[in-house]
Symmetry: D2
Subunit: 143 residues, 4 copies
């Protein structure tokens, strides 16, 4: 593992540990490296909408969390400015959803990330595109 | 109140009562009428990200919930196909966030809704645009 | 007309006069004031796609032009960072399309604008949301 | 070349030949296969905005054209419902811009496509995500 990937992995785990949402949603980091994150979450009853399928807000929240780890991976504070999501198939109670975020482009302080959310059968649930902006400063204090 | 608005209000409240997320997030319906919904939610510790501000996923989730009530307001089952959100200012723990969803256009089975999320001071936190598609069938069974 | 509106109107007309696209597309400014622009364009044969309807790129281009005039209206150089568009109905050859751009929110150097494209019958063709960023400096040199 | 790719290539070229915009914008198809299209265009003076850089509308138009060829590649009429674009770097007069569209996911009649626009130096100019919907019927009549 490169130094850059080791740092990215550390940043993602520290971000998760600081979040109220990480524990609330049961987020697990499966892989985090430079410009990339793959995380997963199980759909619970309290994440369902009135049609008994995963609320679009929870699917977005999972994708947005993966996006955050990927765009902060170089240990420079970076925020989401904008995001778009297309919903393709429903998530069901008990489904294990995985969000995989990959860097598409970085230009100056802006970055674009593509995130795909799939279920345990590999079916695509949603596709997300996020625009980030670096605000400067480090996520992690130096050791 | 018109019959159409009365129906919209009833649909929104029934949707909320069926959702796992409505109770989990503390969603309150402030107003629901034909093509329109205004709802609110208080930002809790378990909704914060690693920077101690409201997670973008929760802000989206609030906006998406208002969108769902507005686009189902005519008692025809309607789903979100796509949504875009721009984040403008942070939400803080204890903030009371309001999402106001209004119909911009309907064409055939498609609809576009604009949602604005503001805090208790009236500051705009996020702006959301959602694309819906009617799938047919009623949300509420006839009495 | 307020001083702010007078300036906005002047900025829009100067921007149009500097554009290669303004003349190429036959853009006409119908109204421009602070945070707002309404412009129109006639759909020509060279703007049609293979289905003989207005190319989505031209509908976007019209909306994006109105967005540009609205977000530069305070005479501070401002660029589009991101935009989303939903297509609702086709434009036909000879249609007179109008794009109306209005400011939804401004926060620091970022702004969100909503643009609606309608035809001569008032039918909504497309709905657009744009995210701008001010880069500083004046559009117009002082007199 | 597979039969599917041969068909996709034929569809793209027929679409281009039917478009008013294809000739007007100088669109060239570099590669078209199932679920994929790569096309290019040179930025001309009549494509520039008031800052003497490529108008965002033209960059979108190029991306949207590649999206159209990719989502119609199976010879089923398919339209754009929605698209999002992030602008990363300016295009200049004389730049040769390439738009590469690839299928991300298809679910029922909906599809999501990612398009990247680069210049002759390989610099990313814009990133686009499009949502399509099949309306049925063939683009090309059977021979």
């Amino acid at each position: 593992m490169s130094e850059a990937d080791r740092l990215a992995n550390k940043v993602a785990h520290v971000m998760l540990s600081r979040e109220g949402t990480g524990a609330a949603w049961g987020i697990q980091i499966d892989e985090a490296r430079e410009g990339y994150a793959r995380i997963s979450m199980t759909v619970r009853k309290d994440m369902l909408n009135g049609h008994a399928i995963a609320h679009g807000g929870m699917i977005f929240a999972l994708a947005d969390t993966a996006f955050a780890y990927a765009c902060n991976s170089r240990n420079v504070n970076t925020v989401a400015q904008q995001a778009s999501i297309a919903f393709l198939a429903p998530g069901r109670e008990g489904d294990r959803l995985t969000a995989e975020a990959a860097e598409v482009a970085v230009s100056g302080r802006s970055g674009v990330y593509a995130v795909t959310v799939t279920n345990q059968a590999g079916e695509k649930i949603a596709v997300f595109q996020g625009l980030s902006r670096s605000t400067g400063g480090a996520v992690l204090a130096p050791d």
